[in-house]
Subunit: 442 residues, 2 copies
Amino acid sequence: MQLILLSGGSGKRLWPISNDLRSKQFIKIFKTADGQYESMLQRVMRQLAGTNADIPITVAASKSQETVLKKYLGDRADISSEPCRRNTFPSIALACAFLHDVRSVPLDEPIVVCPVDPYVDDQFFSRFVELANLIANDEASIVLMGIAPTYPSEKYGYIIPSTSDPISGVVEFKEKPDAPTAQKYIDQGALWNGGVFAFKLGYVLEQAEKILGVRTHEELLENYSALENISFDYAVVEHEKNIKVVRYVGEWKDLGTWNTLTEVMETNFIGDVRADDSCRNVHVINELDVPIVCLGLNDIIASASPEGILISNREHSSYIKPLVENIHQQIMFAEKSWGTYKVIDVERDSLTIKVTLNAGSRMKYHSHERRREIWNVIEGRGLIVVDGAVSSIGAGDVIELPLGCKHMVIADSDLKIIEVQLGAEISVEDKTIHESVGGSKK
Amino acid sequence: MQLILLSGGSGKRLWPISNDLRSKQFIKIFKTADGQYESMLQRVMRQLAGTNADIPITVAASKSQETVLKKYLGDRADISSEPCRRNTFPSIALACAFLHDVRSVPLDEPIVVCPVDPYVDDQFFSRFVELANLIANDEASIVLMGIAPTYPSEKYGYIIPSTSDPISGVVEFKEKPDAPTAQKYIDQGALWNGGVFAFKLGYVLEQAEKILGVRTHEELLENYSALENISFDYAVVEHEKNIKVVRYVGEWKDLGTWNTLTEVMETNFIGDVRADDSCRNVHVINELDVPIVCLGLNDIIASASPEGILISNREHSSYIKPLVENIHQQIMFAEKSWGTYKVIDVERDSLTIKVTLNAGSRMKYHSHERRREIWNVIEGRGLIVVDGAVSSIGAGDVIELPLGCKHMVIADSDLKIIEVQLGAEISVEDKTIHESVGGSKK
């Protein structure tokens, strides 16, 4: 048995704390026993460690999430890295081909696929073995986990089972009905489709060959951006006759909107928030260094990050998308494997960022073709390599990096740098990675 | 006739757009005919230009407001600069002594005192001549402008006149009564005390000598911080028998709270604000470079500046004070005579600021004893003087200023600098101003 976790894309529904580099699964929002905060990804990995400690995990994610994933996953999981963002079927096919071609997992191995960030009981993960066993025993080509609904949601897909047994066949699937229709389905015993599927590895590779025309890891990778952009449900599940659903009764939440996310927050305020006693049912997440002051608010959700500020009535928070779609695409902050960066000033021909490298980490050896940089070291100690020359740096040092020079830095202690970028077309794309010795790759 | 405008202190009631360097009178909040925004100070100066163009004006203000006042007043007004913040009596006494000792205004000159930022009709200012004439004709020692009340406010002082005539004697003064008592006063014909007084210059200098023990400009200036911290009302007006009040009927607002300020805003949103159609009675002032997104809000006032973010129910906005009193005292942005500065990063032993100098302006020649600075020029051209040596600077230049070095800059075009300050105790106080040649003063 193998587990594939699907790491979703950004979406703007949790703006401003999600951006193109930080999807919702990385936001630290759950207070843990020791008073720290953990992300949905960290929460799920912690639950899996308790329930499925020995099952190998592969996270299917876009390349842009790779560094932050490595930071949080360490050695616990492999990453199936996608060259660009595609829907779930190409993503699952690529991960399966990776398992077979790169990790030599046999074709009859049961695979369970699950989103990387469901908000569920431990019990949810314990049930995975059950799904895998049904697959191993050839009881079906696909086994789904169906979630017992708690209300007639218009946001989910519904599975209509053929019986009310704990394990049942499936009559059909219904996508996002209106509330009265959803209630009718629920009265008939329908279940929510929570995006958990089990199948044999070879089954999906056959489907990939049939639907996408390719099946090896190399082929899938090479043609990835041109692959049909379809969901696993639509491409595979809805056409499969030999299918079973396992009923799950317990907590399950899709924390995709501010409203659902704040429902599960154990504290009302994260960050520097000062609210008076008259605030009722108010949730605030403040990622800025300055305070948010709240007075006399009711049913309000607010959030601030270097990207912007959201102030929303609780119920209206799910209508955020059209308002944030046109907001500038400048990424204002990001987590990297080596630390963090934050944009602190934007001008037409310059960008000033604060770079924080964690002790012991290093950047890749790289150069830029359209910008020069001035590094002002404000804290810590480290080594810098510029065009092959090594020197030590510390607080107060200024390093000028001309156009095209190759450079990298290694942090001895936590190292903080104010980096002034100068150029007419500053872009994160303008980066050439160099091997330590010789050759270069874009 | 002379006019003294009292420029009040900061207060925290309009946090986060007011701070210790920027009081409410400097906030640009009124949309003008040409689509720009003007501050309360600019609005009042514009109204005075239309109604009292020939009357000399002196603005009484603390030294910390001097640079920004000069920027907006130009040659239109003198400034009576107070070494520190004191109440209205010392402030008025100092301004009167300045007029007499420095500007040679005679002792029998009628003086009209008015706050620098009332929100009123032009008619209000036209009435000043009337007050001055009553004083010139010796009809009273003090003439007040009484404002016809529009509701039983608990926030203002009340003047009880002896008759209901347009010009009347005064029976007594009542400070901030509760609403029922205020209504009783109003039923008796009481007027609000709007802080407008007229008197002869010599009258206040005599009062200064009697109450403060000093009367010359030099004496007042030297002893300013030790002077009794009392209001003009309490020290003088309430003890004066020979007093008259002139009745003013017309618009008059004290824009001291978010609620009253937003009442007079002609647009609901200033800055980058994106609100959906369901927002009702919402006012947002955003001074940040990133957007504020509002969804489904009712009766909300919000404001963001580099100091922090306020989100308040309209009615609760007047209770802001206790929540913001303990917020860090780091000034995050300021307007100076030469341009602006904004703190963009704060660390224990460093501070990074963005300095914008207006074309043609210059900083004072100065040095710091406890911090060194690195200047990263990101835009524009200028001249820099470092320990007497002059060089030209432009975008991309880096200037390192060691501890104690004397420096200044002159902007040829608009000049933008990212200034990294390094030191263990960084403070705006750590600044020694040097004469162009030789000597220095703190």
